[in-house]
Symmetry: C2
Subunit: 303 residues, 2 copies
Amino acid sequence: MSTLTTDFEQPTMDDYPTRKDSTPALLYRRDPVVWGERDDGPIDQKSLDRYDDAGYLQFESLISADEVQVYRDELRRLSEEPQLRSDERVVVEPSLDEVRSVFEVHKISDVFADLVRDPRVVGRARQILGSDVYVHQSRVNYKPGFGGGDFFWHSDFETWHAEDGMPRMRAVSISIALTDNYVHNGALMIMPGSHRTFVSCTGQTPEDHYRESLRKQEIGTPDQSSLSILAEKHGIDVLTGAAGGATMFDSNCMHGSGGNITPFPRSNIFVVFNSVHNACTKPYAAPGRRPAFIAARDFTPVR
Amino acid sequence: MSTLTTDFEQPTMDDYPTRKDSTPALLYRRDPVVWGERDDGPIDQKSLDRYDDAGYLQFESLISADEVQVYRDELRRLSEEPQLRSDERVVVEPSLDEVRSVFEVHKISDVFADLVRDPRVVGRARQILGSDVYVHQSRVNYKPGFGGGDFFWHSDFETWHAEDGMPRMRAVSISIALTDNYVHNGALMIMPGSHRTFVSCTGQTPEDHYRESLRKQEIGTPDQSSLSILAEKHGIDVLTGAAGGATMFDSNCMHGSGGNITPFPRSNIFVVFNSVHNACTKPYAAPGRRPAFIAARDFTPVR
């Protein structure tokens, strides 16, 4: 006679399984997109609804032209800081000896720290996520023209879930443009509405995958069939706008960017806010965590 | 006492010197852009003026949806023809065993031959060039999505002058779209107005350069400083439009195309018409001619 019992360790249910199976799958999102209300911050109801629908929102001139100049100057200053050249958080293009990205820039620079806690920035993140937020990742990027590479389609959440242990879709990215984004110089492309579908990817995360994946991601890349379905259903938006503008997008937006053969470089500040109620745990599909400058383990709310 | 004499072989003056010097240069165009008149063909005066200004012109639905299907089917038929697989005019992507381009397609296929002599096509070319015209090059292209490469900035005339011996800027290209061109799937980019400046390039043309240059051109590539000047002055137009539409552009337009990470493939028919008064002679800056399927030596007018 068998007894029905729940007296055993319940396996953790994973709503967003990925990198565990040999076939890709399209799964429904199981989390809200907008967690806060109109009165929680500066975003109006219409814009909140649009974010809910499309998975992203653009703001013209979130910061002023003067501020753009301040952040450009600060990026230049950081690029020229000899001490930072050997810092693992600074990504240098070896052939040109030029700085491409500075990670954890809100800890390296007071100027960027102030920007992250600016109500125009963190206020919008808190409103969308309906809670206090902490910085999961921050960086400032500089990409020259004349042949900058593309970045293939991906969901950030897929990586953050698999490699960083982010449990749920309750994070938002903000990209603040320090240069003009045209349709022709490698602007961000988003499949609007794709944030409601989780593309479960195939493959297994190797050790220290982040060293490769920051350049060109292979594991955690959606399959062509899933991408075709999403692109047919949702289309593709190319997000243009002048320097000083900003884009906020959901952690599960299917996005990428084309290459850039134009003479016009691109530079932006990129901050990922995560809800304090969604702090990262153990990676869901990776042998180890990524370094803290890529995936924070300090969940102190931004104040 | 010296005598002034012209009794020696006058060196041939070259208005468009290129690949002869170690420094690049920006030179004025020394040819008209529109050689014909309003009454010479189907293009109205406003459009001729626009072509004169911008160096290109777009036509919505130059051919019907049914015709688009006919040409797609014909491309598929040619792709599957076993005999053509070993033909040097057929470019196959080895890793996928898929046909990417068929050159001299108006000689290989009656269907495309009829298109080239269609008054909607050749009539416009005759009008712009103000004379009878012959086909300098024809091809049909198929580029899949999901990572198709970019094509860097160049002037076709620079190559045709240097490598094919085309004397003057009196040729026009027409590209007829067999798929939709979006801003995001590697559409043609043109710097409008750049056709009035000849960018003299550095380097020397090696033997059999065309084998390389059809994939990725290095020699005959404009320098970054010249491109920056032209892009600042003229900006960059991205030429979108539905299947069936066409773009005609001047031989000296500075143009290129970005890569294509979208799922949407691109396919087009491309024909270069040259004036019969501008027939190619000896290459201006190359050790030998390119093969006739890339640069025709038969100057019989299209009838």
